[in-house]
Amino acid sequence: MDISSDIKTLQERIALYEDMNAYKALYELLYPRLHRFSVAIVKSPETAEEIVSDVFIKLWELRRKLGEIQRLGVYLYTVTKNLSLNYITRRSETPLANLDLDDVSTVVELRGPLEQFISAETIAEIRRAINDLPPRARIIFQLTREDGMKYKEVAAVLGISVLTVRNQLALAIKRLAQALPDHVPVTHLPHIFSKS
């Protein structure tokens, strides 16, 4: 994650000084991602907000030991995953250990400049292609594209091998590419390349 060093700085301040400002900054930094991730599993944004809150309650209770945790980002994603799966489990009979879910709702948004030169139809095609992906591939696509996680980190959070992550992402991209039209006014594209 490109925000790893920010996480580390805040982590130290919380562990050493119980710094509430750092705690708040960490929450605001990670809430969007963790919430998105939780929503993919539990579906409801309200439930997801409570789950992320529970994650941060645990983090606060752990504050003195926080320095011991090596990759806090991955750790928090994992806790979010477990609490989310737990929530689902308590509502059904069958326990779920992994993300072999029937139904993972991911948020894949395609906005901004893209709308200028891709028709609404194409955007709908792309969305459909993503939703048709198997749940695991979809979640991996979201974690890498939306949250900027590395293959290794995704593998750690989901409890699968790096190779699986890599294969699943390749699959997702291939399927997406197949959904794209052959004719696109390429001349407009170069402007979007810089990721600020």
Partner: protein, 361 residues
């Protein structure tokens, strides 16, 4: 290169994980298959476009803090969200905490000494200091815990072997002193020394304030004014001692007698620690819970506290505003919110520009 391999490398490239060799292969393949170029560029564009964040983060955090405070306040904390079937080692560590907590606090206590604010060591004396706007928590070699408020400084001995444990304080700190009858703990400030056996209390001694205050919560302390060592005072729990820092005219502190011109003795008074009826935290130490509080304090005193808490400069343009008194408690509010709340009660106007606040009628 097989088509699947191509998309594999595209994936690596988009995620910034492709090796130079892989990037070359990608380039080569695109050169040989120009029909793929458009789709490749489009994929790249799709990958890089992100949705803007919709959530009101401060509001979400405020809701979270409500839940956190509720959770921390409940006497029996049932953790019904902890997963049963989790194989994650992280979760197991959570359950393991209580046994090792004490040892770990000491570890982090000493790490803090090396990293916090400013630290220097001459012979065996360590210094910990905080800047305006930040607070710190330290553990001393004997196990005593000290919460240091903003803009404060504590000097202590690294390897205390003497008959007494000594620290020097400038600013404000809350002490939770480890009991040791054989070795009294003594806190030295500019105006007074405080002799402690084992107890919890707050000391407030800022250079630019008129008084030094000591508030006792548990145990007992003996306060010894520098200028008048015979006039020792022993505090009982929930008593507060206020000592004037220097020989300034008594002025507006109503509880203090006006001094004789030739009288050098420090002026002192004893009052009670203020305990909010709804909240068991005394007003004097709300700052340890990250709450900013004013207890019938003049705007001048309020300004000083705000300067320290938020690390800003406050100017009051009209002297007539200075004497009005304010009582308030703020909980994670930012500077804007605090100023707005005070403005409504105080009937003044203010501007905030970068790190400067100007208060006018």
């Amino acid at each position: 290169m097989h088509e699947d391999q191509f998309w594999d490398i595209v994936g690596l490239m988009l995620n910034n994980e492709a090796s130079p060799a892989q990037l070359e292969q990608l380039d080569e393949h695109l050169r040989k298959h120009p029909e793929l170029r458009k789709k490749f560029l489009l994929m790249h564009a799709i990958w890089n476009t992100r949705e803007e964040e919709q959530t009101d983060l401060p509001a979400a955090f405020a809701r979270h803090m409500q839940r956190l405070n509720t959770h921390l306040a409940s006497p029996v904390r049932t953790d019904d969200v902890s997963p049963q079937n989790s194989r994650s080692r992280g979760i197991r560590k959570l359950i393991w905490i209580p046994a090792a907590a004490a040892a770990l606090v000491i570890v982090f206590g000493s790490v803090a000494l090396f990293k916090s604010g400013s630290r220097h060591q001459t012979a065996s004396v360590n210094t910990v200091s905080t800047k305006p706007g930040s607070r710190s928590r330290i553990q001393l070699p004997d196990g005593t815990t000290v919460w240091l408020n903003a803009d404060s400084r504590l000097d202590y001995e690294e390897d205390p072997g003497g008959a007494t444990r000594n620290v020097h304080l400038s600013g404000e700190a809350y002490f939770d002193v480890v009991r040791n009858k054989e070795r009294p703990f003594i806190i030295h400030t500019a105006a007074i020394d405080i002799r402690v056996l084992g107890t919890a209390f707050n000391v407030r001694s800022y250079e630019n304030e008129k008084n030094t205050e000591t508030s006792l919560f548990r145990g007992s302390v003996e306060v010894i004014p520098h200028n008048d060592p015979e006039r020792r005072i022993i505090l009982k729990p929930l008593e507060k001692l206020i000592v004037q820092n220097s020989r300034e005219p008594a002025g507006r502190v109503a509880s203090m007698p006006t001094p004789d011109p030739g009288d050098d003795k420090p002026l002192m008074s004893i009052s009670s620690v203020h305990v909010e009826p709804n909240d068991s935290t005394a007003k004097e130490i709300l700052w340890t819970r990250n709450k900013l509080s004013f207890n019938s304090e003049s705007l001048e005193e309020v300004a000083l506290k705000i300067e320290r808490w938020f690390d800003v400069k406050v100017t009051i343009t009209d002297a007539r505003l200075k004497s009005k008194r304010y009582t308030a408690v703020f909980d994670y509010e930012n500077l804007n919110q605090v100023m707005e709340a005070l403005r409504i009660t105080g009937n003044f106007t203010y501007t905030i520009r970068k790190k400067e606040v100007v208060i006018s009628p």
